[in-house]
Symmetry: C2
Subunit: 493 residues, 2 copies
């Protein structure tokens, strides 16, 4: 989830100066409406890396709103009072009442994360801690609390820069502690723990928003807007007692479009290099999936998603060319059958899992839930919001069973898509490849773009990362796909 | 949860013969309605002790309904096919489609329980397994499945009897294995594991029904009726897509009234014994709560619930008489204040937790949620159903922090209550103790009785068991209360 906050988000000064007063006014209005209606409490959790600007962000929210009805709580080491009481006691005493906002700095995430990093919590105790967190937050949401969680992240380079800057100044009130450098050294370990923690606690009822902390204007405006959206949505919602009617807060959509917009679609591969590379990676793939170790303990799932006409089919053909027909299966995923509709949406994929030594290639996949079903409104918001967690769960079970899960998103430009659509319409044997749906999807280009970036942000995990493929040049794309598969398979052998 | 299934439930033959045909017809009708509407699948999990009659129960359901649309699946050791695939694969392949019923024998509970008993799963891995189960079941419910879970239990004596009976017959097709006796020897260990597993997986969306297996007529009718209730309720419900509208199934209410009806209210204590005993237990209580070990590492919470006029106040006075005023606090719980209403319902109790060495006595408690709030409709069904799990969580956190949690239900008969109400009205200094609400509650005697038995069934845990107190004779009750507290405190010292 953290890559989306390593893009280099910035907001120009003039844009900020134009937007800030409007946001401020709207936030203040929402706060007063909440205060008067006293309908629910708002709990804002601000956590993330050291020096990412967590404190300033909390201060900014207070500056923007009426400080009498918003309070910040930070939780240090447990004191005398807390000894002999459950760990949750300190939080319970500080929950904001209905009508008001509370900001918890780090909240219950600090203990879990610090415990895992210093080894005090082993893997299972860490899981247990995350499970308790999910229980607690679920209870809060069911009791009516609007829970907003912001994780402020800094790319490693920025983090280092800030440490150095602090060191150079002798006049700072809070000099850098030895501890900070120590923490920087464990940056990558901490990053992996944070990834996992965010993934496992980003639930439909209380999803995380990961915010890049580098540029404070971006950080302030993004946090402010997400808070405003959620507040306004909840204030509009009517409460239906008998039906557990609380919808989840709107999913925090940060500006993550750069994830695909920054792809360098000019990447190309010359024909001669292409043929040589292709043959080489195909040989390697053939060798690794026929190895004894792979045949005995592993299997491979490749997921192909991408813009329409991005060349998924062609890439799939180059992959299977390296495989024995008895070893693999291609599963093209289109609208579900009646039989599949009668089951939970993941069922159709569970049916087709590879046996040990097998390879299954999905041409489109379970990600349909958070792509086409989301954009076209085929399922409810709550449905696709919980799908991220369910899909991460599913893939974790696959990986734990020895399956290598490789996921590709193939991206082309809007112009290139148009060119390919037209070409398909003209070429008789390609005409079947272009349908009304393709044109419909094209009209919703922006909606899909957002859904893709959210998908990558929320389901690119350390165990099953997404590979974004620049597919404007088919040859480049095919080689990148093959190379990625080989590298991922070789990594487990 | 298991005590409620050790009561000796029976149904007479003539009752069974009268009720069975009606139940059968209603079940068949519901099945056809489901089949035609194809609105949701029904997953029935039947698990429990060996020889409790799980198989016969499944067979009976099939006999009653149309066997073409209900299928039973048992899951043995994992086979060749399942190697290299996630453990969940076997279940996913067998989920019933919309419109039909599936019975899973033991389902995913067998592996978790067997693993914990043979030590293969340590405490944290066991917790992790239960967490995965909750995830899976929650996903099923959110995807629309009606999940019904029946745990068939046998009291230890009955279990032994069945083993012996089997042994005596040489002609049985399935002779008792050495394994069965082995399992019997670990009965109490298994019982504790089962208790915990049931408690932690009895969620609002998929609660367990614990059924006593001794009498097959009782077993068949109870399972059949609970299934019918849930089916009919779900068939009536309309589905509202945008609002995650699925209400939980009605809570499986088994006939557990004997939990309090079987109390021997004739128990008495003569005055002379009373005074001696009382003094003795008060001395012991004073000594143990002043011990260094208690003062340093423990605290004590006593919860007093009971029928109106059962003598809670008098019992509390006898307890605190043994304590130093600086050490204890009494928290009388009535309608929540505005401040308390603005918070999650458990908040008011978190505020008043004892410090190390302290004693807090709750005169009424967090159980109000599943008693008065349930019976009077002050909260929604979903709210009080999830409260059992939240309360068990809360008490587990207390116990883990070193607190001894002792819970009393004081029971008197309906006649005795009337006598005490009238006496209160006559006695000037007692008149404040009787209010309109007391008379209102009395009119709902049956509703409260059911709520109390459900409460005891679902929240009497190994770590914080309920003590039911026969309170018709105040002297007897007071001594039992004191003795119980002393025993529970001494057990941790």
């Amino acid at each position: 989830m953290l890559e989306a906050a390593e893009i280099g988000h910035r907001i120009a000064k003039d844009v900020y100066e134009r937007e800030e007063p409007r946001l401020r006014e709207a936030l203040l209005n929402a706060q007063y409406e909440l205060l008067q209606s006293k309908r629910f409490p708002v709990l804002i959790i601000i956590s993330g890396v050291e020096m990412g600007g967590r404190g300033e962000t909390a201060n900014k929210l207070i500056e923007w709103m009426d400080p009498r009805h918003i309070r910040v709580r930070a939780f240090g080491p447990r004191g005398e009072e807390e000894r002999g009481r459950p760990a949750g006691w300190r939080y319970w005493r500080e929950f904001p009442p209905k009508g008001s906002l509370g900001i918890f700095m780090n909240a219950w995430y600090h203990d879990a994360m610090a415990g895992r990093i210093d080894g005090h919590l082993d893997e299972f105790r860490f899981e247990r801690a995350l499970d308790r967190i999910r229980h607690l937050e679920r209870m809060l949401v069911e009791e009516g609390t609007l829970v907003m969680k912001f994780w402020i992240h800094l790319p490693q380079g920025e983090h280092k820069k800030r440490l150095k800057r602090l060191h150079r100044r002798d006049d700072v009130a809070w000099p850098v502690e030895k501890d900070d450098w120590e923490r920087f050294r464990i940056y990558s370990k901490a990053r992996a723990v944070a990834e996992r923690m965010l993934r496992e606690t980003s639930t439909a009822e209380a999803p995380w928003a990961v915010i890049e902390g580098t540029d404070e204007r971006y950080r302030f405006l993004t946090v402010g807007k997400l808070l405003l959206d959620a507040l306004q949505a909840r204030l509009k919602q009517r409460f239906d007692r008998e039906r557990r009617a609380l919808a989840p807060p709107p999913m925090p959509v940060t500006d993550n479009l750069a994830l695909i917009r920054n792809l360098d679609l000019a990447k190309k591969l010359a024909k001669v290099d292409y043929e040589k590379s292709l043959a080489r990676w195909q040989r390697k793939l053939a060798a690794s999936v026929r190895s004894k170790k792979f045949m005995r303990n592993h299997s491979l799932i490749c997921v192909f998603e991408g813009t329409d006409a991005a060349g998924k089919g062609g890439a799939v053909r180059r992959v299977v060319a390296a495989l024995d027909a008895r070893q693999y299966a291609i599963v093209p995923v289109s609208a579900p059958t009646d039989e599949e509709l009668a089951q939970p949406y993941l069922w159709r994929f569970w049916r087709r899992l590879p046996r040990p030594g097998g390879v299954v290639i999905y041409d489109r996949s379970w990600y349909g839930r958070v792509l086409v079903e989301r954009v076209e409104g085929f399922c409810s918001t709550a449905d696709w919001m919980r799908a991220y967690g369910e899909i991460n769960d599913f893939e974790e079970q696959l990986v734990n069973a020895g399956t290598v899960v490789v996921k590709f998103w193939l991206q082309i430009s809007k112009n290139e898509q148009l060119r390919r659509f037209r070409e398909r319409e003209k070429t008789p044997f390609k005409r079947f490849k272009i349908t009304k749906e393709d044109w419909r999807n094209r009209r919703k280009w922006n909606g899909y773009e957002q859904a893709v970036c959210d998908m990558v942000e929320r389901s690119s995990t350390e165990i099953a990362p997404w590979t974004l493929v620049e597919a404007e040049d088919k040859q480049f794309a095919r080689v990148k796909v093959l190379r990625t598969i080989v590298e991922r398979v070789e990594a487990v052998l």
